[in-house]
Symmetry: C2
Subunit: 301 residues, 2 copies
């Protein structure tokens, strides 16, 4: 990893989340001064990060930005829902559109005009691009992420250096999201059946270390001013769920009792590998799926 962020002020949203906490730790190791915003009165501890309080208003973010004086903002906060119920309309819009818009307003307001030295790296999702299309959302969640990208373009037109990294699926240490890799590793050594879908859908899994490196690299590219509006982050290889299970079985040395077909496929399960969007220059994934899963298995042993 380059150290272009050393001694620089960086603002991270979603710093207590999965990728956010890995990114924050990496930035601190690089010597960056890491600021974070949170709605929580008592945020989970992220050692070394300086927390600022967000009370739902742009004014509170302006205060945070004024105090932090960030040169780079990594925007990873979001509310994920694979599908939504009616009560979640407002939370999804608040978390995935309103908060980010208020943040962009605060950042540009606190910056010299035009904000040409300010870098903003946004986290998007491959679920905005069903079937690899320019835009076809899998869920309302994905639609709100696309909506925020559109808002971001408004701020880009006033000089903000922005880019969005489209993530597919991620895994790594300290993953408390209950996602597939963790579920499979948790099941090693258990005898009861693990109910799964048919398992033929493809997934594109990126290790947290590679995701973090991509965010740092994206900030570097944006800082030079030569960024694209978005890049896709792909592991460069897709596996079916069934192949993933085989990898876990091989590494753990235990057969997994999976009840294939016990759960339905989701309405818009991605069966095709995802290959839309520009590749991030100067970055490639370094942690193979076998290596990443082996590391997780060893850490549990």
């Amino acid at each position: 990893m380059t150290n272009h962020l050393s001694a620089r002020s960086v603002l991270v949203t979603g710093a207590t989340g999965f990728i956010g906490s890995h990114l924050t730790a990496a930035l601190l190791r690089e010597g960056a001064v890491v600021h974070a915003v949170t709605r929580a009165a008592n945020p989970p501890s992220v050692p070394g990060a300086l927390f600022h309080r967000y009370d739902g208003t742009t004014a509170s973010l302006f205060g945070a930005v004024k105090a932090a004086g960030p040169e780079v903002c990594f925007h990873l906060a979001s509310l994920f829902r694979a599908s939504h119920n009616t009560d979640e309309i407002d939370p999804l819009i608040d978390a995935n559109i309103r908060f980010g818009t208020q943040l962009l307003e605060a950042l540009t307001l606190a910056s010299p005009t035009p904000p040409r030295e300010l870098v903003f790296v946004n986290a998007g999702t491959a679920w905005q691009h069903r079937g690899g299309s320019a835009y076809a959302p899998v869920s309302l969640y994905a639609a709100t992420k696309q909506a925020f990208e559109d808002i971001l373009e408004h701020y880009a037109s006033s000089g903000l250096k922005r880019t969005t990294l489209k993530l597919f699926d991620t895994y790594g240490p300290s993953d408390r999201r209950g996602k597939l890799v963790s579920v499979l590793l948790d099941h090693v050594g258990r005898t009861g059946p693990l109910p799964m879908s048919g398992g033929e859908q493809l997934i594109d899994l990126l290790h947290a270390d590679d995701v973090v490196a991509a965010f740092v690299r994206a900030a570097e590219i944006a800082s030079s001013g030569s960024m694209q509006p978005a890049y896709s982050l792909s592991a460069g290889r897709s596996v079916t769920i069934r192949e993933l299970v085989q990898i876990v079985e091989k590494i753990s040395g235990h057969p997994l009792n999976v009840a294939w077909g016990a759960r339905p496929y989701r309405q818009f399960e991605m069966f095709e590998p995802w290959d839309a969007g520009e590749r991030l220059p100067g970055w490639e994934p370094l942690v193979s799926l076998e290596e990443g899963i082996a590391r997780l298995f060893r850490a549990r042993a």
Copy 2:
């Protein structure tokens, strides 16, 4: 105009606005049952329309939709700002994204699943397409309109028949928006100078009658299921502001005292004629600019 909406239940948002009030009157003349939603306790009167109260929640819209049972929804409500200040972030998101999302949720929730018989005609703006591009917003307002179109695509994927009409500029009777045509007609006979920009930018002006016909036609096309996601509504002819002034002078028989260059151009004034997007099949503007302005002038005499 066709009368395919006769005796059908139609929901109009923004019914008290400029285009909304013209559309509502036309729908009532066609024999449609027109429902409207409003936040106001005492909405401006639109004779014949049935008003339902929106209190900021999806639940209130669900109640309105359950009562109205609309087959077609025309979504014209929006908050316009040529540029915004920081206090307007939340109102712009609430009016242009949240309200429409809640409405879509209420409509699909109240409909049979999937909502294949439900038609949704949305009002967009040419200001989403600076320089005729696929997307380049002129303002945060335009970005919020684009963001809502993204949300709309999510609901389209569950079967909603939707389309968006991209409006450039509009004029006609009962226009209380203080826009250019009204300002020029108000100035006829006055002697003081009217401060204007350089006047070389092009505008594409559509008469309210033609806009209303386009919305009705769009509902018809969507109803057949053969709609595109969006259509551009162009007058088919652009004039410079200077040419528009000459038209008003010719029709009124009075020279206008215009102080050209007394005001700056806006940051993203559109100088190019706008020619992006699909044309609405089976519709063309019928009211020429000269005819429309002559009608307005005669109505004032």
